[in-house]
């Protein structure tokens, strides 16, 4: 056990990869019987302090269909200066630069510890990063002010040579020209008219006009700066101008009559932003950062009409097919997202409003391009301010934690094929021999584009074992997978990170225990969850839940130890023991349950679930609960209603929320002001401890979680109560006695009930 845990951890740290199975069933048939697919979570840009990039180009396999990168798993003939590709077995000559190669003098990529290696390649001239702010001006004065300040602040965080641009929108869309002195210029577009990229570029004057030959005016050499320069300028040049410009931003001046929403042309604004970058800087790293304070109410991409009496679509409306704008809007944003992705740009959405803002429709913009999505109540909250600030956070090298225009290519050895990927990516439709016909997630390709990613961006990649049962793999045979990620580093360098991993094959019939032992239930839970969430986007909620349940039952049937029809005999080995619990919480999670969540919230939650790394994903599935008391140091406790005690302070982290909950007694003490009395300093410390811990979490989390400080009986306590396992409810309260915990008023099943049912079903011979 320990060994596998260590192995898994080690691999994760080195390669940023965790597989659901660390020993692979060697035949297709067996693999399908494993229920949980062979898959991995890959964090392509996992921060590696110990990984200095090498300054040369990778050596590629010469077979056109392969082109795998030379790696430690390759067999090398040092004398003949040949190497054999471990994927296609092609024998390749080393390039001339490798002439001095020998067993002693190995290039880095051949050393085992460099199973992950990063190359810096020099291709073309580096283009600066581009940040295009798309700002909603239909905000309350206070909100707008806060947003303006945040934006002004962000200018100081940008690298000086980065290009910035500004588009504001309300009823109209304004593209601000930044190059001019004095008078501030902007191009204005009507918010109701969808324009093609060509039109936008024409209207912005981005198509270089045929210079009219003026008589008597000799043709001057073209000293005109690049045409795009009017809208996108290096930060260092227009820092002051843009600060002023932002400072002068006014609320959308068009009157909004009583009972109406302001007219907000988000759809057109985004379209113009996309068109602008498309015409000027295709295939360079660029972020379109959309700041919106409400739903699009006009033009293409409108989500709701401007009549306040018509509420924004709810899940109920959607189920009833009552959301009249949804399909059209979604289509609009999907088209935009696809175009953006094709250009290698990304779209961030920062939505701050008390009501929904149309994230449901717009989600694909962020999802497909790897952009951020942030949801808050107001721009004038630390939630937004810090989240936004954190976008520009830097790593230990002083580089942005963001990369652009990445292409992820996956190569597999012959026994494996790629079913698909789930994450902030879009298919590049690269067919190849290793592409499976069975799709899971975004499939049918071995290459994906990730327009923007950060060190925590994580993709789930699903494989299919294609080795036939009757073609056994020789003992000790290993399957290999190579991940090649090409991207634009925030320093504008082009880089290639190559990760090559290998796992042992095992015959599932004879060596099931090996496979079983090598099961990584944490990642498996996340991988299954991603599949579930992915399905939930397109399928009815109950169907997904049923599918998840069936998978869980099958898994239990496969790996549980039990006597038929005897639920009490059911046991799971340690490597599976937590899995059902994850599934229990997953079923209750906002990723699959839409009840009590608006469509926007669901989209927001799912967006983040589909891109966070393993740890964060697990927190999302099963929030962490810490308990603080006088009886000892803080300890993690069960996410269970029984953990809610009067003399405890609880700290719950659900990823999206940090909840500090004061038990009844604690709250009373606090009200009595004991913490201010010198003799109760320990109480003060007790109160302080969870705050400090929460702060620590807040420091690192992106996006900023909602920070809730509440107490027993307060309305905000619902955040905690809705998450804990309702082991005590009004139904069973008296049955369980009243010695501890706090009853939850819910009809939800508790973990206990869930497990009982699971056991029953697992052992049932009927299924």
């Amino acid at each position: 056990m320990a060994t596998y845990l260590e192995f898994i951890q080690q691999n994760e740290e080195r390669d940023g990869v965790r597989f659901s199975w660390n020993v692979w069933p060697s035949s297709r048939l067996e693999a399908t019987r494993m229920v949980v697919p062979l898959a991995c979570l890959l964090t392509p840009l996992k921060e590696r302090l110990d990984l200095p990039p090498v300054q040369y180009e990778p050596v590629l396999c010469s077979r056109q269909t392969c082109k795998a990168v030379l790696n430690p798993l390759c067999q090398v003939d040092y004398r003949a200066k040949l190497w054999a590709c471990n994927f296609c077995f092609q024998r390749n000559q080393f390039p001339p630069a490798y002439a001095g190669i020998s067993e002693i003098n190995q290039p880095a990529e051949l050393m085992p510890q460099f199973s992950t290696i990063e190359y810096i390649v020099q291709r073309g001239s580096p283009t600066p990063l581009i940040f295009l702010y798309v700002v909603d001006t239909c905000l309350e004065e206070e909100d707008l002010q806060a947003l303006k300040e945040s934006l002004q602040m962000s200018l100081s965080l940008l690298p000086p040579e980065a290009l910035v641009g500004l588009i504001t929108f309300g009823r109209m869309v304004q593209v601000h020209e930044l190059s001019c002195e004095g008078i501030s210029k902007s191009y204005v577009f009507r918010g109701t008219k969808d324009l093609t990229a060509k039109q936008i570029q024409d209207m912005l004057g981005l198509t270089r006009p045929v210079v009219p030959v003026q008589q008597g005016r000799p043709l001057q050499p073209q000293e005109q700066p690049p045409i795009s320069s009017r809208f996108l300028q290096p930060v260092h040049k227009i820092d002051m101008n843009l600060t002023d410009l932002l400072g002068e931003l006014q609320r959308d001046p068009w009157p909004v009559t009583q009972g109406k929403r302001p007219l907000r042309s988000t759809g057109v604004a985004l379209s113009i932003a996309v068109g602008l970058l498309e015409g000027t800087f295709p295939n360079t790293g660029a972020r379109i950062m959309l700041f919106t304070g409400g739903p699009p109410t006009q033009g293409p991409g409108m989500v709701v009409g401007d009549e306040l009496k018509t509420p924004i679509r709810s899940w109920h409306d959607i189920e009833k097919d009552n959301a009249r704008f949804m399909k059209k809007a979604t289509k609009h944003y999907e088209t935009l997202a696809n175009r953006t992705a094709a250009n290698g740009h990304c779209i961030d959405i920062y939505a701050c409003a008390l009501d929904q803002t149309g994230l449901l429709e717009m989600k694909c913009c962020a999802n497909l391009t790897g952009g951020h999505m942030m949801m808050g109540d107001s721009f004038n909250t630390s939630l937004f301010k810090q989240t936004f600030q954190r976008v520009f956070s830097k790593d230990f090298n002083g580089e942005f934690r963001m990369a652009f225009g990445a292409t992820l290519e996956v190569k597999t050895s012959r026994e494996l094929k790629i079913s698909g990927a789930i994450g902030p990516c879009i298919s590049l439709n690269a067919k190849g021999p290793c592409v499976s016909e069975n799709e899971l997630g975004i499939g049918g390709t071995c290459q994906w584009k990730i327009c923007s990613l950060d060190p925590s961006s994580t993709l789930a990649i699903y494989f299919e074992v294609v080795n036939q049962h009757n073609a056994p793999i020789p003992q000790g045979g290993r399957g290999a997978v190579q991940f090649v990620t090409q991207y634009q580093h925030s320093s504008t360098q082009r880089r290639i990170r190559v990760t090559t991993i290998a796992r042992n094959w095992a015959d599932a019939q004879s060596q099931l225990q090996h496979i079983e032992a090598a099961f990584d239930q944490e990642v498996a839970a996340v991988l299954m969850a991603r599949l579930g969430v992915y399905r939930a986007e397109s399928e009815e909620g109950p169907d997904v839940l049923r599918w998840l349940d069936r998978q869980l039952i099958r898994l239990c049937q496969k790996f549980g130890q039990y006597n038929k029809d005897d639920p009490n005999s059911f046991r799971l080995s340690d490597s599976f023991s937590l899995y059902p619990q994850f599934m229990f919480h997953l079923r209750r999670s906002p990723f699959l349950q839409v009840f009590n969540n608006s469509p926007d919230e669901s989209s927001f939650y799912r967006h983040h679930f589909s891109r966070q790394d393993l740890t964060q994903s697990l927190i999302m599935i099963q929030p962490i609960l810490y308990s603080y008391s006088f009886s000892g140091p803080p300890e993690p406790v069960l996410l269970d209603s029984s953990s809610i005690l009067a003399d405890r302070i609880l700290l719950m982290d659900t990823f999206f929320q940090i909840v500090i909950y004061h038990g009844e007694t604690i709250a009373q003490w606090q009200k009595a002001g004991y913490q201010d009395m010198p003799e109760y300093e320990n109480f003060k410390h007790l109160l302080q401890a969870p705050l400090d811990d929460a702060q620590e979490i807040l420091q690192t989390r992106f996006p900023m979680p909602r920070y809730i400080n509440t107490e027993h009986g307060s309305s905000q306590a619902r955040f905690l109560l809705s998450k804990v396992n309702p082991s005590q409810t009004h139904n069973n309260l008296y049955a369980w006695g009243q010695e501890s915990g706090s009853p939850i008023l819910t009809d939800d099943v508790s973990l206990q009930v869930f497990m009982d049912h699971l056991k029953k079903l697992a052992v049932s011979s009927a299924s």
Binding site: I183, R190, P212, E248
Partner: protein, 1156 residues
């Protein structure tokens, strides 16, 4: 000699036709004229130029004769026959003379024509002798004719050519000589003409090289020397009309000079000077010719004592002069008798033919110059230009007779003084003529009568006219919540004509006779005369014009309007920037914004302003007061225009001053390097309209535009200018808009109350016909500055802009004209839009815009009740106040046609006819329009002749007193650029003028069609009075004088070659004629009385006109003179327009045809 000959000629003519005799008796040499006319008629439409020229001279002669007799009105038809002959002979010279440049070509053509005419003449039986006679006579008449005006001198030269053949041997010799030199001359007359052909160039030569001209002149006419003496003559020669005159002038000149000398002292002086210059000029080119000329000159000089050189010619001159003098004087004698008649006519009694004639005579006497010369020749039958109705005379008379006392409007159907007269109006129940003028103040009772007379019944209404400071503006009446009192049925507003009955409890509508209850709050007792006791306290009961404060129910959407807004929209394409226009506008606006119109006592204007610049895209500016810097917003989606901002676009000037100034400073800089040459237009208007719509107010757009909008956008235009279409059935398309897009746009603009003023700065065709649609239909104004150059056009443009921005204007207006039962308004002319048949909708209406309304009978009228008009204008004033302006006018009705003719106003009639014709060209070929016009006028006059004039010979032309200027004015309309374009008139010019005239008031059309021509050298520097104007004919110009001509669009200062150096120095600050720059567009500011006075006159004229006139300095014989001559409307025009005399003859013929 000549006189006798003339007389002879006249007799023969007269004999053939009894009428002639009568005429002759009356002293109308005009008979011949009429004859001429006949010939001319044939030629008229077709070979006008050639014909007219030749014909005119003759006609003129004859006519001149007539007029001199005192009744220019009557023309003998017989004369025509003679005239033709004359024409034949004469024409050539005239033609040649008239169009110096073209003469070469035209002349030849003219000759054949002439010959034909000549044949025709012969056939007529006039007898060659007659022809001969005529020639001499012509020459003689010329003499007299010329006598009056030194101008004629040049003409005389030419005429001498012909005349010599007939009368003066000397001259003949001269001619012969000259002819020989120039070309061979088979016949004396022919010779004379021949030369003329050469003459044309000669005329050109005059300007260019004196010698050449002289030679030609000399060849044609001995007189050339005379011309030498007179600086001006040559110029006159160039004009077709002058030809006729020349003949006169030649001999007369000398004579005239003498007589005139007293009045025209300057000329002699100038002549004295000129000689020197002339010789030099002439000498240089052709010495030989010089000699010839000298010879002739001597002869001439002989007469004019001033010049010894000319002495040789004197012999003829004396003789000539003698007759000439008589000729001149001739008219006077008849005048005396005529005077009585004249008065009669004034009274309105046209009973006697003589009457009219006498009138003329009287008129002449009235004019000292003319009258001063006693002319025995009156008996001669030639049409003397001086004897045909003179606009100047009529204007002067009216000024003298009616200018002194106020015009009190209390009496129904009063004919107001002419527009050219300064008079004070006292409103006593009828609207001032400044607001409404009618074609007739006496309306026929039945439609049959109206049809018979063909006199259009129309009112020219200028609802917001500016009044002189000594007349009170309309009183404002506020009835509070209930609003104005109105008739229940026809909704007419309370006015002085309403009858209160039943002790004042009810009133009967004067328009529809419906009885309406008087609301309690308005009740007032009646006095014993049935008048309300508060009659004099209430403007609406005692005045013709007043205003009501409108209540909310008179407002759009039942909401009081917001104050209007001005939006300045500036073209910033390459051309506009390069020419400095953008900078100029921006600079000007900075100060101009302080002068936005404001309502009476308000401290600052309520009008908000906005700014837009554009080329292919539009730039809006946010100039909100809270901004540190203006913000520019570019809208490139021109296909689907919208306004990008609301708040901050339209601002109060004072609040946003710093931002606005900053903006105006920066605009020129921002576009200094622009390379954008394409512009859009329709989106600009749309933008302005949308902006007003968004701001929920009415307003005005000031668009400064430079080029044809060819950029891809709605309303994009293509260059469709095609001169080949002129005189074809498709010519009308040049006046029609290219696309209906603009009409629809205009409709939207009107709905929003968005008035568009358009300033155009074209360097080439930009399709005014299309671009003007919106300004036109929204009640806006178009200003056009072709080939705009900062140095020369800046002043004019800025003044126009200032005036345009500052002038009083009403917005979002609806005008309705109600009439009493029996007539109704059926047709409307002007700059507006109509969505139904009764309401005139005006997005904007300024104080210079007029609306012309035509009335038709729909029932009988009664003499007792007369006819009433009520014009109600609902508008938003510049403070955003909704008001109703009411103008009432009562007219008489008549059952006798004579009453109608006695109460007509020709100026208004012409205003209406011009507008009617100018609208007609949209749908009909121009020729049809012209014919219609001529036909209608002929019918009007024929009807008069038939029904009102006392029986007289059919050959006699009798004009009603009130309409005696109709022919001359009508001719001016027919010759205008729209109806008869010259080669240099562009399609845009025509479209521009067409639209311009459509909203002109009577005073403007008057001077536009018949420009005002003042002899500057006669200016009395110590007095405020202006010198007497002179008639627009080249023969009246003296080369020793300077003249000022204005027509409402341009001011010309014409400088004769022989003007005293001292005067030139005083006025231009240069030492001699040669140093005067013809590119001057202002007179230098010099500290001497003459310069000051001239400049003050010009300033005064500028102030009188709604547009700043372009000042053009024309040096005699300079190339610009062609342009100038275009405005000498009594002369034959380059483009084929008939001379006054010709046209009069033509009219006469038409009338005769109608009568027979």
């Amino acid at each position: 000699m000549s006189v006798n000959q003339q007389a002879h000629a006249g007799l023969p003519y007269g004999q053939p036709q009894p009428g002639y005799q009568g005429y002759q008796q009356s002293g109308y040499g005009g008979q011949q004229m009429s004859g001429v006319h006949h010939s001319q008629y044939g030629a008229y439409n077709g070979p006008l130029p050639g014909y007219q020229q030749p014909a005119p001279p003759q006609g003129y002669f004859s006519s001149l004769g007539f007029p001199s007799k005192g009744s220019p009105v009557s023309l003998n038809s017989d004369t025509p026959t003679l005239a033709p002959n004359f024409i034949g002979t004469l024409r050539a010279p005239p033609t040649s003379g008239a169009p110096p440049p073209t003469s070469g070509a035209s002349v030849p053509a003219g000759h054949p024509v002439y010959s034909q005419f000549g044949q025709g003449d012969v056939q007529n039986g006039v007898a060659t002798s007659a022809v001969q006679m005529q020639r001499p006579s012509a020459s003689q008449p010329f003499i007299p004719g010329t006598a009056p005006a030194p101008i004629s001198q040049p003409a005389t030269f030419r005429q001498y050519g012909p005349s010599p053949t007939s009368a003066q041997q000397l001259t003949n010799h001269m001619a012969g000589m000259q002819i020989g030199s120039s070309t061979s001359a088979p016949l004396p007359a022919g010779l004379g003409y021949g030369p003329p052909t050469s003459v044309p160039p000669a005329s050109g030569n005059f300007t260019v090289t004196g010698s050449g001209l002289y030679t030609s002149y000399s060849s044609s006419q001995g007189p050339p020397p005379v011309t030498m003496t007179h600086g001006l003559p040559p110029t006159s020669l160039s004009q077709g009309l002058s030809l006729a005159q020349p003949a006169f002038s030649g001999p007369p000149l000398s004579a005239q000079h003498r007589p005139q000398a007293p009045g025209f002292l300057p000329p002699p002086c100038s002549t004295g000077i000129e000689p020197s210059s002339y010789p030099s000029a002439t000498g240089a080119p052709r010495p030989s010719t010089m000699q010839g000329s000298q010879l002739s000159g001597q002869a001439l000089t002989g007469l004019p004592t001033s010049q010894p050189n000319h002495v040789s010619s004197p012999p003829p001159h004396p003789s000539m002069s003698g007759p000439a003098m008589t000729g001149l004087q001739g008219p006077p004698p008849p005048t005396h008798p005529s005077q009585s008649g004249y008065q009669m006519q004034q009274n309105g009694s046209f009973g006697q033919v003589r009457g009219p004639q006498p009138n003329y005579g009287s008129a002449y006497p009235g004019t000292p110059n003319y009258g001063s010369q006693p002319a025995p020749p009156p008996p001669p039958k030639r049409l003397d230009p001086d004897s045909i109705p003179s606009p100047i005379q009529v204007i002067e008379d009216d000024r003298n007779n009616r200018g002194s006392e106020p015009f009190i409007t209390g009496v129904r159907g009063q004919v107001p003084p002419l527009v050219t007269t300064n008079f004070l109006v006292k409103d006593q129940g009828n609207a001032s003529p400044r607001y409404i003028r009618c074609t007739s103040y006496n309306i026929p009772c039945t439609s049959d009568m109206a049809k018979q007379s063909q006199v259009p019944l129309a009112a020219v209404i200028k609802p917001l006219a500016t009044l002189p400071t000594d007349e009170a503006p309309p009183y404002l009446v506020d009835h509070g919540e209930p609003g104005p009192i109105r008739c229940n049925r026809c909704k007419a507003y309370m006015c002085p004509f309403m009858q209160f009955i039943e002790g004042g409890r009810r009133f009967q509508c004067c328009f529809c006779s419906c009885v309406t209850e008087v609301p309690p709050h308005y009740f007032q007792h009646l006095d014993h005369t049935g008048k309300r006791v508060d009659f004099y306290d209430r403007p609406e009961l005692s005045l013709g014009s007043y205003e009501f404060l409108a209540t909310v129910s008179y407002c759009k959407n039942n909401k009081f309007p917001n104050p209007p807004a001005f939006i300045f929209m500036i073209d910033v394409s390459y051309n506009a920037v390069k020419s400095g226009l953008v900078r100029l506008i921006c600079e000007e606006l900075k100060s101009l914004l302080d002068y936005l119109p404001r309502e009476g006592n308000m401290e600052e204007s309520a009008i908000r302003v906005g700014f837009v610049t554009y080329n292919k895209v539009l730039h809006f500016y946010n100039v909100k007061s809270s901004l540190a810097q203006p913000q520019m917003m570019v809208v490139s989606d021109v296909a689907d225009m919208f306004v990008p901002l609301l708040d901050g676009f339209l601002v109060n000037v004072n609040e946003s001053r710093t931002v606005i100034v900053s903006l105006l400073d920066q605009i020129p800089e921002m576009f200094a390097d622009t390379r954008e040459t394409e512009t859009v237009f329709a989106p600009v208007i749309q933008a302005g309209m949308e902006a007003l719509k968004a701001a929920e107010c009415a307003g005005k757009l000031f668009i400064f535009h430079t080029s044809l909008p060819i950029a891809e956008a709605p309303g994009k235009l293509k260059n469709r200018d095609d001169r080949k279409l002129i005189n074809t059935d498709k010519e009308k398309t040049l006046f029609q808009p290219q696309t209906s897009f603009y009409s629809n746009l205009a409709k939207d603009c009107v709905a929003q109350g968005c008035c568009v003023d358009l300033f155009l700065f074209p360097n080439q065709y930009l399709d005014v016909a299309t671009l003007g649609v919106v300004p036109y239909q929204t009640g806006g104004t178009i200003y056009k500055y072709a080939y705009f150059q900062l140095e020369t056009d800046q002043e004019r443009f800025l003044n126009d802009l200032r005036k345009d921005v500052q002038k009083e204007v009403g917005f979002d207006a609806v005008m309705r004209v109600r009439t009493s039962t029996g007539i109704r308004a059926t047709d409307f002319f002007g700059a507006f839009y109509m969505s139904n048949t009764t309401d005139v909708e005006l997005a904007g209406l300024d104080c210079d815009k007029t609306i012309t309304v035509e009335f038709r009978h729909d029932d009988k009228l009664s003499e007792d009740s007369g006819a009433l008009l009520q014009c109600a204008l609902l508008y938003t004033n510049c403070a955003g106040q909704r008001r109703l302006r009411i103008h009432n006018l009562s007219l008489n009705c008549c059952t006798q046609l004579a009453d109608l003719y006695r109460n007509c106003e020709t100026d208004t009639l012409i205003n209406f006819l011009a507008k009617f014709a100018y609208r007609g060209v949209l749908n009909n070929p121009v020729k049809t329009v012209r014919d219609t016009l001529i036909n209608q006028c002929a019918q009007i006059l024929a009807c008069y002749r038939k029904n009102c004039a006392s029986p007289s010979s059919a050959g006699q032309l009798i004009l009603p007193e009130c309409m005696k200027l109709l022919p001359v004015y009508l001719n001016c309309v027919l010759k205008s650029d729209v109806l008869q374009p010259g080669a240099e008139v562009t399609t845009d010019d025509r479209a521009y003028i067409r639209q311009l005239v459509s909203s002109m008031d009577v005073a403007e059309t008057n001077v536009f069609f018949y420009p005002r021509l003042l002899p500057l050298t006669k200016v009395d520097v110590d007095s405020d009075t202006l010198p007497a104007a002179i008639r627009n004919s080249e023969e009246r110009l003296s080369k020793g004088d300077m003249y000022l001509l204005e027509n409402g669009l341009n001011i010309f200062v014409w400088v004769g070659v022989n003007v005293q150096q001292g005067l030139i120095q005083n006025l231009f600050g240069v030492s001699s004629f040669n140093y005067i720059s013809s590119t001057l567009n202002t007179l230098p500011v010099l500290e001497n009385p003459f310069s000051k006075r001239v400049r003050s006159i010009i300033d005064m004229f500028q102030a009188q006109r709604s547009r700043y006139m372009k000042l053009i300095i024309v040096k005699q014989e300079d190339k610009l003179e062609m342009l100038f001559k275009h405005f000498l409307v009594e002369d034959k025009s380059m483009s084929g327009g008939a001379s006054y005399v010709d046209f009069l003859c033509h009219m006469h013929k038409e009338i005769r045809q109608l009568l027979s």
